[in-house]
Amino acid sequence: MTQLDGRVPSGPIAEKWDRHRRQLRLVAPANRRKFRIIVVGSGLAGASAAATLGQLGYQVDCFCFQDSPRRAHSIAAQGGINAAKNYQNDGDNVWRLFYDTIKGGDFRSREANVYRLAQISTAIIDQCVALGVPFAREYGGMLANRSFGGVQVSRTFYARGQTGQQLLLACYSALARQIDAGNVRMYPRTEMLDLVIVDGKARGIITRNLVTGEIQRHAAHAVCLATGGYGNIYYLSTNAAGCNVTATYRAYKRGAYFANPCFTQIHPTCIPPHGEHQSKLTLMSESLRNDGRIWVPKRKGDRRPPQEIPESERDYFLERMYPAFGNLVPRDIASRAIKRICDQGYGVGPLGIGVYLDFSDAIKRLGRSTIEQRYGNLFEMYERITGEDPYEVPMRIYPASHYTMGGLWVDYNLMSNIPGLFVLGEANFSDHGANRLGASALMQGLADGFFIIPNTIAHYLAGEPMQPVSTDHDAFAEAENEVRLRIRRLLQVKGRRTPDSFHRELGRLMWDNCGMIRNREGLQRTLEKVAQLREEFWENVNVLGSNEQFNIMLEKAGRVADFLEFAELMCYDALHREESCGAHFREEYQTPDGEAVRNDEQFCYVAAWEYQGVGQKPTLHKEPLVFEEVKPTVRSYK
């Protein structure tokens, strides 16, 4: 084990980023075109980085697995984006946004990064408006704000329930402009399958063209991964079907450290699964908890329709357990309470996994039209999916995997421990600690891509004397060979089970044992079961067709194979972190009434794991978290 250095600049927290920028090296405009930069992923972080680096004059190659960069999963974010503009004059400022984010993360994120994020937040809004994002506005023409998830100010900017879409389309249009200008080459329907390291530095990637199967080598001076999170490890999640861990996991296998992989966020208000063939879960905005009351029948297995269950036989368990915050407790706490009550047999719906989110009181109090104005589009979406009318019948909700706070370890410059490998957005670990606050994922993706990476990557490029590398280098040949071997192995198994069936089984295992609630015994058992499942995968998976074609089974099989290795890493991390913090809840570490017990003495650090081989326990490296500005406190919502 070594101690990792996040290379946080010295000085008062409010001045760190400015001071740091004064010291960063620059690349002169005429020299920039001599550098080629690879950006993998075209979501908010990737597209904003590729567009900005292209604008500066670097030669950029950008890759995405979808058919167009406009499809990346950032597009599905509903709620909004935070910024410390204080347009509402309600006492907001950079420090408060910083504090809310670091507290929301249960004091497991790096102070200096979070402060920088809050500082940059205001410039993000300026940039997005200038790019044409049609944010909600007041009649006077100024930008509107709303409040969001447990904070006391209104600082969230939004575009109806489609904020992520509008922000992504703005980044996509900025990217299109750079493609048009010849500064960015776009590779859609292309998947990164390996990272190439030459002389200890990230110098390229190996990709597969998903249409033709062609394996390609790409060389560059630096590589940026903006490939999102790994929430699909659970099979069922609110992530898009294609979201996967492959790019970051392959980088990990090449030596990049993976930080806090067990920090995964489970969102409480999603539509419950309907049956075995469920392919994904749909999030219903958190705002519903403002007016909906959550309850289950007091009697186990009560199958009566909800309208026939009298008031006295209903258990409004969140209001009972958390009288101060009631139905508005934070995401992690609400999710756990819902899971527990369903595990005890009180769940509702055909599968018994779900609780009621009931608007009848609010409709009585405010009238149907007010509820319609507030939540009309969400009610419509719910009815479209379930066929039930939430004005008449209470909604059923259940938690689902939504976001992953863990990711590749990066320093203050967003560079991993491999020189030249930068990691942006959800793919890195840096800003959200053990739990992410609402409306901050979009903020982080854009901060990383628009404003941080252009400064820090120049510093790297200007400082490192680099030999030109061609794709004929042995390191490229070796990486390509490994990719080809792995594909051949997948095609040669010719077993009886589909990749999907393995994914479902793995997802269930991880959801039950490394999801909302974890314990030592369950994690140890899961480590064994994952190893067995992986063994069976390589003996019994069935992948039809060949590499040289559009092959959806082969794509899927490669991603599932990586999840089957990555699952162990998550379990090792969850097992070693003998405390409960944020989204990571270990049963052994709780108060008598079931609240999380954090252990700052022993676990106030980032756990960064180094790969040691398939099935081998990875090596732990620690980056101690030093709090100079805030004092870690106990989060209580009673």
């Binding site: 597009i75 048009d180 404003f451």
Partner: protein, 252 residues
């Protein structure tokens, strides 16, 4: 539910395709249309047959990746709904369902139900943006935007770029798609400096990509999962005419 599916199978762009019939049992009314296809694929793969390729990603109606012409209608029978949000309760036991790719000269088939919609990207690259460099944006509230204008811009900007408008149009026209982007920026003060240049370049690129022209069938609006209005096409035509008449037109 038990269904008879007639699905377009085509190995690649250059091979001929045909409709192949499959029987599918055990479909639950709560499944989404794509989950029904997942079920078929699971059964096909288990019996050693090549699964049906179709595009999909977010499965919540916003990424625009899913497509399919279902019983002759892009995204199927439900108004304002993408294929991924269409559920099987809208079909009946014993139904025959015809599933085909989006068809247009500018959208060549890649495999089965997957088509190449990169022509849309090329249209956006030809001016579907506001040229503001990162770092040069003024403070966001410096330029007020009337709420009505911002709302109209949003109504156009809600386009998910799925291509249903093209698939629905007898001329395979991309006018609704292009108009939505042109109108989005034309309604915002930030979009004004490039207003003329943008519409001229985007329309030119649309023609170059092989899309047809608009002859007011308005099928595009009916098929649009985001219910974008054809009034934006009229608006684009006005924008185009205005741009042509402007003194700077010949400099584009």
């Amino acid at each position: 539910m038990k269904l008879t599916l007639h699905i377009w199978r085509q190995p690649d762009r250059n091979s001929p395709g045909r409709l192949v019939t499959y029987q599918l049992d055990g479909v639950s009314p709560d499944m989404s249309f794509l989950e029904m296809l997942d079920l078929l694929n699971e059964q096909l793969a288990s019996s050693g047959q090549d699964p049906v390729a179709f595009d999909h990603d977010c499965r919540e109606g916003i990424c625009g990746m899913c497509s399919l012409v279902i019983n002759g209608v892009p995204h199927g029978p439900l108004q304002g709904t993408t294929t991924c949000q269409l559920h099987m309760r809208h079909f009946r036991d014993g139904d025959h369902i015809y599933i085909e790719p989006f068809r247009a000269k500018a959208f060549p088939v890649i495999k089965d139900l997957v088509v190449d919609r990169s022509a849309f990207d090329r249209i956006i690259e030809a001016g579907g943006y506001i040229s503001t460099n990162v770092g040069s944006a003024p403070e966001a509230n410096t330029i007020p935007v009337p709420k009505e204008e911002a709302d109209t811009a949003f109504d156009a900007a809600t386009c998910i770029g799925c291509g249903a408008c093209v698939a629905a149009c007898p001329n395979a026209s991309a006018m609704l798609f292009v108009a939505a982007k042109v109108a989005h920026f034309a309604h915002l003060p930030h979009g004004q400096p490039e207003r003329r240049r943008r519409v001229l370049r985007m329309v030119e690129e649309m023609d170059r990509q092989g899309f047809g022209n608009c002859s007011n069938y308005e099928e595009c609006e009916a098929a649009c999962p985001k219910e974008i209005s054809v009034k934006f096409i009229a608006e684009m035509n006005r924008e185009y005419l205005r741009a042509l008449c402007s003194p700077a037109a010949d400099q584009v």
